[in-house]
């Protein structure tokens, strides 16, 4: 390759990718530095507080990984919040009667099953995922309420709560392990496998994917199933952390997850995305919650500031891409 060629390549790469690719990292850094400075005496920078942020965002991060796949394929999954509750309750109820292993199978199985239902309706009945998952969101919110008659179910199995919530391995809390492992596998599958490439191609140009021999329906089924399974895992993490399950779990997470994924550089219309970006986006959301509370703002002010910051982040991260 000639040197002139190389330099234009570097130039174009720099101008093209700098802002849109790294805006989430820069935003994250800016918010971090802002809080680090403003809250230098308020415990923000303590190891305890920073690790809390990662622990608290673990379920959102896990769900965000699933949503990156779904959105990259040009679909959406609005049902993840309801899946969390159903999975957590299914796990909690099953653990009480049949033990931990059965509980894990029940929780993950519930998530995967709901994902399969979503996926089959989208891929083979050819309904829009927005409407399908909007409907299943309501449907399974109802299911989770009726499962235990609105009661919360305690999870007393200490192996389970340790494994999924409060335990640690080699001095590292289990929720951090889950986050790291899920991100590593998610990133590898998304970036380095044919499946990941086919997901991106499907979201980018479904017709092109189809004439290139990619089974577009199978991809759509797969991404929604992955999303359901990961939401199920998030449900297990919540149940482990709270040592109980309730129908309200995950209910408020949907918007946080979508914001984290979009701020993290995944296009709403598919074809482009980032697992690591979603992690950073998710941590950014957690850090915002944490920092704004520590700043001593009233609840209403916290919501306003958080909304404005997310709006700014989304606007900047979408600016280049939306042309």
């Amino acid at each position: 390759m000639s040197s002139a060629n190389t330099s234009t390549e570097v130039g174009s790469l720099a101008s093209r990718f700098n802002l849109q690719q790294y805006v989430v990292y820069l935003g994250f850094l800016a918010i971090f530095l802002f809080f680090a400075f403003m809250l230098r005496d308020s415990g923000f920078l303590t190891v305890r507080n920073l690790s809390n942020i990662v622990l608290q965002t673990a379920p959102v991060t896990i769900m965000a990984i699933g949503l990156v796949f779904v959105m990259s394929a040009g679909e959406i999954d609005l049902s993840i919040g309801s899946i969390v509750a159903v999975a957590a309750l299914a796990a909690a109820v099953t653990i009480a009667s049949y033990g931990m292993a059965a509980g894990i199978v029940a929780g993950l199985g519930a998530g995967i099953l709901i994902g399969l239902i979503n996926g089959a309706l989208v891929a083979y009945v050819r309904l829009p995922s927005f409407l399908v998952t909007l409907a299943t969101m309501g449907l399974f919110a109802g299911v989770s309420r009726s499962m235990t008659d609105l009661r919360s179910i305690s999870v007393t199995d200490e192996t389970f709560t340790g494994f999924f919530g409060s335990g640690s391995l080699l001095g590292v809390p289990s929720l951090i392990w889950w986050t790291v492992i899920a991100i590593a596998i998610g990133h590898l599958v998304y970036r380095e496998t044919r499946f990941g490439a086919h997901v991106l191609a499907t979201g980018d140009n479904a017709r092109a994917a189809s004439v290139s021999g990619i089974s577009v329906p199978k991809i759509r089924l797969a991404v929604l199933t992955i999303s359901g399974g990961l939401a199920g895992l998030a449900g297990l993490l919540y149940a482990g952390r709270l040592q109980a399950a309730k129908y309200t779990l995950g209910e408020t997470d949907l918007m946080t997850v979508i914001a984290a994924v979009i701020v993290g550089g995944t296009l709403l219309n598919g074809g482009k995305g980032s697992i690591v970006g979603a992690l950073v986006g998710s941590l950014m959301m957690g850090m915002l919650n944490n920092g704004l509370i520590l700043m001593g703002l009233s609840v209403s002010d916290q919501m306003i500031v958080r909304g404005l910051i997310i709006l700014t982040a989304v606007a900047v991260s979408l600016r280049d891409k939306s042309r």
Binding site: G43, S152, L242, K246, L249, N290, G296, L297, V299
Partner: protein, 353 residues
């Protein structure tokens, strides 16, 4: 003070009129006997000791509503009086996982006190354990985490006098209907001891104290969003109802809407909690006859005071109950001030002119 006295006089007269009123007491979540909130006081020496301690507090609420706002204001005012700085305030949006995150977050500021209303008592131990282990004084509204011991794990619980609220709602209904007639009863159909006790007290009061009144129809409401359908069905089946009791104010608005839609002008509504649209209907001589409100502001004051006192060795009672008031067209101004520590909204003040 004069306002308080006048309300006491009204209450006393109401109570006196019913010498054989329904028996019943509010109990705490673990069967605790209630102690009047007003009985909790700090000595000047204790107050000085608290002020010298340079303590801090965090407020970890379950959600934000007018009610929580009033509790929050009471707590903040009392903390301010005692020289305690409020370092953080959170809203969990009824999500237990979020409330756990909130507790962990505020701990970074090392508060001496956390005041909170647990979203879900069954899961609450996992939520508050980090704070308990850090030696933070925990004060709760309404409920406490399952398995926690008062005195060692938390300071106290402050709540409404739930029985009194339901009882006053029953009395207010009887007054509005001239002590006779048919009543519809819309209760909260969920295992939630706050609403269960209030609803039960209303029913008991009507059934025991007013022989000429009858609960003609009952309907359980699990989902407030469906309250209008429930009210519609009730009005259709019993167009001759003289009054309807609704478990709290938001669904009562739906009942009001259903009555309006049906062109029904004779059925009266009694419900719990202050709420502007409902109060407006009341002062305009509409269908709402009375709103029974707890002294939410006092809950915050009492809880803050008990928790602050515990830092200097005060032993709080396990369960304090604040009074409630039946607010009618005539007492809406005083009632608003006493319950929410706010002036009555301008719309209502205008409507009364």
């Amino acid at each position: 003070m004069r306002r308080a006295l006048s309300i006491m006089t009204i209450l006393a007269s109401l109570l006196a009129a019913h010498a054989f009123a329904a028996e019943g007491v509010t109990t705490g979540p673990n069967g605790e006997k209630p102690v009047p909130a007003a009985s909790l006081t700090l000595t000047a020496a204790q107050e000085q000791q608290i002020k010298d301690g340079k303590f801090t507090a965090a407020l970890v609420w379950h959600e934000m509503s007018e009610y929580t706002n009033a509790v929050n204001a009471g707590a903040r005012d009392e903390f301010k009086r005692l020289g305690i700085k409020v370092v953080a305030q959170t809203d969990a949006g009824f999500d237990a996982a979020r409330q756990k995150a909130d507790v962990e977050t505020v701990l970074a500021k090392k508060p001496s006190i956390i005041l909170s209303l647990p979203v879900d008592p069954a899961t609450a131990a996992a939520v508050y354990d980090p704070a308990r282990q850090a030696g933070v004084k925990l004060g709760f509204v309404d409920n406490c985490p399952a398995g926690y011991k008062q005195g060692s794990d938390y300071v106290t619980i402050v709540s409404d006098d739930l029985f009194q609220m339901g009882n006053k709602a029953g009395i207010a209904m009887a007054e509005a209907l001239g002590k006779k007639g048919k009543v519809g009863y819309i209760f909260h159909d969920a295992d939630f001891y706050v609403t269960n006790q209030r609803d039960g007290a209303f029913k008991k009061t009507i059934e025991q104290d007013y022989p000429e009144m009858k609960i003609a129809d009952e309907a359980g409401m699990a989902d407030p969003a469906r309250s209008e359908d429930i009210a519609q069905a009730m009005i259709t089946q019993h167009p001759d109802l003289d009054g309807i009791y609704v478990t709290w104010a938001e669904p009562a608005l739906s009942v009001l809407a259903a009555l309006r839609a049906a062109g029904n002008k004779h059925t009266k509504i009694v419900t719990l909690d202050l709420n502007e649209p409902a109060a407006l209907d009341m002062v305009k001589g509409g269908r709402v006859a009375a709103l029974v409100a707890d002294e939410a502001y006092s809950i915050g004051v009492t809880l803050a005071r008990a928790s602050a006192g515990s830092l200097v060795g005060l032993k709080a009672e396990p369960f304090y109950a604040v009074d409630s008031i039946a607010v009618t067209k005539e007492t809406v101004k005083e009632g608003w001030k006493k319950s929410l520590n706010k002036d009555v909204p301008a719309t209502i003040a205008d409507a009364m002119k």
